[in-house]
C-alpha cells in the first residue's frame, strides 16, 4: 500500500505493484482553442486551449480555466483541428523589402501638417 503524506492518497489503499499503464497515442480528448471576451463589443482574444470530448464540455472547461478570474462577458471555443493556419516554413511571406516607405505610415510627411495645424490652433 502507498503511504502518502496526503491522507486522501493513503485512504485509496493503492497497491504498490499496481503499474500505471502509459497512455496510448490519441488516448486523449481533442483540443479546443479558447477565445475570451472581457466586455460585450470587445474582440475575443485567444487565451489558450482545453482538452474536451465535445464543444459543450470545452465551454464548461474554458469557463473555469480562463474565465474564473477577472471579468468575462463571453467565451468562444473552436476545435483546434478546424483552425487553418499558415506554415512556419512560409514565414518569409511576412517579410518585406524595406524600400517601400510609401506603404508605411511613416512614409507620409503628415507630422509636419499636424504640427502646423496644432500651432495654428494654439495661436
Amino acid at each position: 500500500m502507498i503511504k502518502s503524506l496526503d491522507p486522501r492518497v493513503t485512504r485509496e489503499q493503492i497497491e504498490l505493484d499496481n503499474q500505471i499503464a502509459p497512455l496510448q497515442e490519441l488516448d486523449q480528448w481533442e483540443t479546443y482553442e479558447v477565445f475570451h471576451q472581457k466586455k460585450r463589443g470587445d474582440q475575443h482574444m485567444h487565451v489558450g486551449i482545453v482538452h474536451a470530448p465535445n464543444p459543450e464540455m470545452a465551454l464548461l472547461f474554458g469557463k473555469e480555466q480562463y474565465g474564473r478570474r477577472g471579468i468575462t462577458a463571453n467565451i468562444w471555443v473552436v476545435k483546434t483541428a478546424n483552425v487553418f493556419a499558415s506554415e512556419y516554413e512560409d514565414q518569409d511571406i511576412f517579410e518585406t523589402v524595406p524600400e517601400k516607405q510609401y506603404r508605411e505610415a511613416g512614409g507620409y510627411k503628415v507630422m509636419e501638417k499636424i504640427n502646423k495645424y496644432k500651432k495654428e490652433q494654439k495661436s
Binding site: D6, P7, R8, V9, W29, V50, H51, A52, P53, N54, E56, M57, L60, F61, K63, E64, Q65, R68
Partner: protein, 249 residues
C-alpha cells in the same frame, strides 16, 4: 428565530460538507481541466456556506470559523448524502448532479423569501449555481449515454445515491411556520420541483430512477444523526484550525 436558524444551519452545513468532500478530488480528478473545474466549484460551495454562517452570526451565533470548525458530528445538520465518501467519479458526479439541482432550486425559492438577508444571499449565488448545474447536466447526459460501461456505472451510482438524495428533503419541525411566514415554501415543495427538474435530464442520459416502491429516504442528518463517515471528515477539515485557532490567514 429558531425556525430561521434551523433552515440556515442545514443549508450552511450541506454546503460546507459537500464542498469539503468535493475538494478531496483536487489533484486527483480524471483530467486536468475537470480537476480545476470541480475544485473551483468546491471553493464556491465553501464560500456560499460562509455567507450563510455569516447570516447566523448576525442572528447571534458564533463566528463562521468557530461554528464550522469546532462542532462535533452530532451538532451538524447536513443531509447524510453530503458526508458519504467520494467513491468513484461516477458516484461523485451523480451526487454533484442530484445535490446541485436541489441546491439551485432551494436558492431560487429563497430568492423571494420574506427573510430579506437570505433572499439577498440567494440572489447573489445565482450565477455560480447556474454554472454548477450546467456542469452537472453536461456530465450526466454525456456519461449516461456514452458507452455501455459508462452507462452501467452511472446507473449504479444513481441507484446508490437515490435514497440518500431523498434524505435531503427531511422535513423540519418548523415547516409550517416557515411556510406561513413566507420564509421558505418547504421541503415537500422543493422535492416536487427537484423531481421535475432531474427527470428530463436523467431521461436524456438514458438513466432510470429507481422504482417508487423501493424509495426509503435516508433521513436523520438534519437532526444530527450521521454515519461514521462524518467525524473523520470534520477531524481532517479542522486539523489546521485546531492547531492555532487565532492564526490570521
Amino acid at each position: 428565530m429558531n425556525h430561521i436558524k434551523e433552515l440556515l444551519y442545514k443549508m450552511a452545513d450541506d454546503l460546507l460538507i459537500i464542498g469539503h468532500r468535493n475538494s478531496e478530488w483536487t489533484g486527483l480528478g480524471p483530467i486536468l481541466e475537470e480537476d480545476i473545474a470541480f475544485s473551483s466549484m468546491a471553493q464556491d460551495k465553501i464560500g456560499q456556506s460562509q455567507a450563510i454562517f455569516q447570516l447566523l452570526h448576525e442572528l447571534g451565533e458564533q463566528e463562521p470559523d468557530t461554528v464550522a470548525f469546532t462542532r462535533n458530528a452530532n451538532q451538524f445538520h447536513n443531509a447524510v448524502f453530503t458526508e458519504l465518501p467520494n467513491g468513484d467519479y461516477a458516484f461523485s458526479t451523480m451526487r454533484h448532479f442530484l445535490y446541485d439541482v436541489a441546491d439551485q432550486l432551494r436558492f431560487e425559492m429563497l430568492a423571494n423569501s420574506s427573510y430579506e438577508p437570505l433572499a439577498k444571499v440567494s440572489r447573489k449565488v445565482k450565477g455560480e449555481l447556474k454554472y454548477h448545474v450546467f456542469h452537472a447536466n453536461t456530465w450526466i447526459t454525456k456519461l449516461g449515454a456514452a458507452t455501455e460501461e459508462s452507462h452501467a456505472r452511472m446507473q449504479t451510482a444513481l441507484n446508490e445515491c437515490w435514497n440518500y438524495a431523498l434524505g435531503m428533503f427531511e422535513a423540519s419541525e418548523f415547516e409550517q411556520q416557515l411556510i406561513s411566514e413566507k420564509i421558505f415554501e418547504g421541503e415537500a415543495e422543493l422535492k416536487q420541483r427537484w423531481l421535475g427538474a432531474i427527470s428530463p435530464i436523467l431521461t436524456k442520459a438514458t438513466l432510470t430512477i429507481p422504482d417508487e416502491s423501493t424509495w426509503q429516504p435516508h433521513t436523520g442528518g438534519r437532526k444530527g444523526i450521521h454515519t461514521e463517515h462524518l467525524q473523520p471528515l470534520l477531524d481532517e477539515m479542522s486539523e489546521v484550525f485546531k492547531i492555532d485557532p487565532t492564526a490570521e490567514w
